[in-house]
Every structure is written in structure tokens, then in C-alpha cells.
């Protein structure tokens, strides 16, 4: 029974470390290919869209309206143009979590992927904070008193860490439990019985964690870019 990240193809050595194409990289490429192909397909169909939507156009417009409502609920007016970033995060995490159902190892069950996503959110939080708050951004570290400076800095560093670990832990636990169930059952029963675990760990937890990651990153960005003490 093995549920760690497997090395697939050897690439080259860098100093003493050997660089491999791992399962995570392959799964990320497949997820990226699916998303990019879908985007290109929608872009090509965009020319034949009409004023009154029918069929395929309905689905796309529903998706875009969902995204705009989602962004409007959590961000303020100025930030609405950054909705695409958060929607991209949401779609990528959701597709990665669901890729576990197609026999891939979900890219989000690797700490490197979730860490990269959390670093992006970290840059977004502080970039938007500096751009919108300017002097008040530095002042927000010594609120309510100067004594709170180390606590505030630790709090800022803990945000991306907890975002990364939450997503990683939830998806990895699903992967481990699914692997254990598959190894426990004889081959004859492997077709129907593990579906229960997939419904819970991939469909329910996957969607919930994608939602939670996006909404929490929106909340963190808003928290740092608006003055909560005024």
C-alpha cells in the first residue's frame, strides 16, 4: 500500500538532487490542459453568441453570473475587477480535487501545489494592502498598540500557512482513505463499493474546500485592504 507521490520519468540532476516528473506534475498538466481547452472552446463559440441566450450560451452566462454574485458578496466595488483571479483559483482547485475521480492523483494533495496557491494569495493580500491603504498599511501592524507588532507579524505569516495546510490535509486524507479502501477490498468489489468514499471525499469535501479556500482568501484580502479601525 503506497499513497506517496511517485516519480514517473527521470529528467536531470541538479547538483546532488535528481529532478523527476512526478505524478503531481502530470496531473497538474492534465488539469491545465482541460481548463485551457475549455477556455479556448468558449472563446471560439463567443462569436456565435446572441442577445437572447440559448443552449450552450446559457451555461456560460450562468457561470459568469455566479462568479459575479460570488465576488459582489465578498469584495467591495473597487475590487470587483480582481474577481477573475479568485474565480481562476476556485476553478483550478475544484478541477484538481475532482481529478481524483478519474484515476489521477489530485494535484492539491501535494503540499507544493497548495503552498504555491497560498503564496499567490499572500502576494495578493499584501500587494492590495499596500496599493489601497498606503501609510495605513504599515500602521495596521502596530494596532491597537506597538506591543502587538510581533503578534501581528506572526498572524500574517500564519494565514497562508493555514490556507495551504487546510486544503492539503483535507484532500490528502481523502486520497489515503480511498487507497486504503481499494487495497482492503478484493478486486471483484472494487467497482461499486468505493463509490461511497468518492462521493464524500471527492465531490463533497472537494467542492467545500475549493469554496472555503476562495472565500477565505477573499476575506483576508478585504481585511488587509480596508481600514477596519475606522
Amino acid at each position: 500500500m503506497n499513497f506517496s507521490n511517485q516519480n514517473l520519468w527521470f529528467l536531470f540532476t541538479l547538483g546532488d538532487t535528481e529532478i523527476y516528473i512526478t505524478e503531481t506534475i502530470l496531473a497538474t498538466w492534465i488539469v491545465m490542459a482541460v481548463l485551457i481547452l475549455f477556455a479556448v472552446f468558449v472563446r471560439l463559440r463567443l462569436r456565435s453568441f446572441k442577445r437572447v441566450p440559448t443552449g450552450f450560451q446559457n451555461i456560460i452566462e450562468t457561470l459568469i453570473e455566479m462568479m459575479q454574485g460570488f465576488v459582489k458578496d465578498n469584495l467591495d466595488e473597487d475590487m470587483e475587477r480582481h474577481g477573475g483571479f479568485f474565480f481562476g483559483l476556485f476553478v483550478f482547485i475544484l478541477t484538481s480535487n475532482y481529478s481524483g475521480m478519474f484515476g489521477l492523483r489530485p494535484p492539491t494533495s501535494d503540499l507544493a501545489t497548495t503552498g504555491a496557491l497560498a503564496m499567490m494569495v499572500f502576494v495578493m493580500i499584501h500587494g492590495m494592502g499596500i496599493a489601497r491603504q498606503k501609510g495605513k498599511y504599515i500602521k495596521s501592524y502596530i494596532e491597537p498598540a506597538f506591543l502587538f507588532l510581533p503578534i501581528n507579524i506572526i498572524g500574517e505569516l500564519a494565514k497562508p500557512l493555514s490556507l495551504a495546510f487546510r486544503l492539503f490535509g483535507n484532500i490528502l486524507s481523502g486520497v489515503i482513505i480511498a487507497t486504503m479502501i481499494y487495497n482492503m477490498l478484493p478486486i471483484v468489489f472494487r467497482f461499486l463499493l468505493p463509490d461511497v468514499a468518492h462521493v464524500y471525499f471527492d465531490i463533497l469535501v472537494g467542492a467545500l474546500q475549493a469554496y472555503v479556500f476562495t472565500v477565505l482568501s477573499m476575506t483576508f484580502v478585504m481585511q488587509k485592504s480596508t481600514d477596519i479601525f475606522s
Partner: protein
């Protein structure tokens, strides 16, 4: 006794103890869900807002037990205490 076996056994035992971190977050999530059910019963039209707030709160409460799980996984998979024998 072989000291390696002793360290490995205690690592497995402590990984089991790490899962006790689920106690607190389970209690907290149950509390949040109960309060949310009460709130929906009192004001059924605010169901969507209550649900999304509860889900965010539950996910935040879950973080501590996820930390416990990660420590347990490190103890089981990476065997950090075996470096003293090389």
C-alpha cells in the same frame, strides 16, 4: 530490545495520540451546526447566508485537527526520529 524498534513503536503510538486533536474540532463543529440549525429555525429566509457562514466557521475549526493529522502523517511516513541511528 532493538532501539530502532522502540523508536518506531513509540512513533506509531504518538501518531495515534495525534488523532485526539479531532476531539476539539469535532465538538466545535457540532456546536456550530447546532446553532446554525437553531438560527435557520428562527429565520428560515436567511438560510443561504447562515449556511455559508457556518461552512466557513466549520472549515476554520477543522484546521487544528488537520494540523494533528499532518503531525501524525509525518511521524508515520517520514520517521523523523530515525536520523539519530544513521
Amino acid at each position: 530490545m532493538d532501539p530502532k524498534a522502540f523508536v518506531l513503536g513509540l512513533s506509531a503510538l504518538s501518531a495515534g495520540i495525534c488523532t485526539l486533536s479531532g476531539l476539539g474540532s469535532g465538538y466545535g463543529q457540532g456546536l456550530a451546526a447546532g446553532q446554525a440549525a437553531e438560527a435557520v429555525g428562527r429565520q428560515p429566509e436567511a438560510r443561504g447566508a447562515i449556511m455559508s457562514t457556518m461552512l466557513i466557521g466549520c472549515a476554520l475549526a477543522e484546521t487544528c485537527s488537520i494540523y494533528g493529522m499532518i503531525v501524525a502523517l509525518i511521524l508515520l511516513m517520514a520517521n523523523p526520529f530515525m536520523v539519530f541511528f544513521n
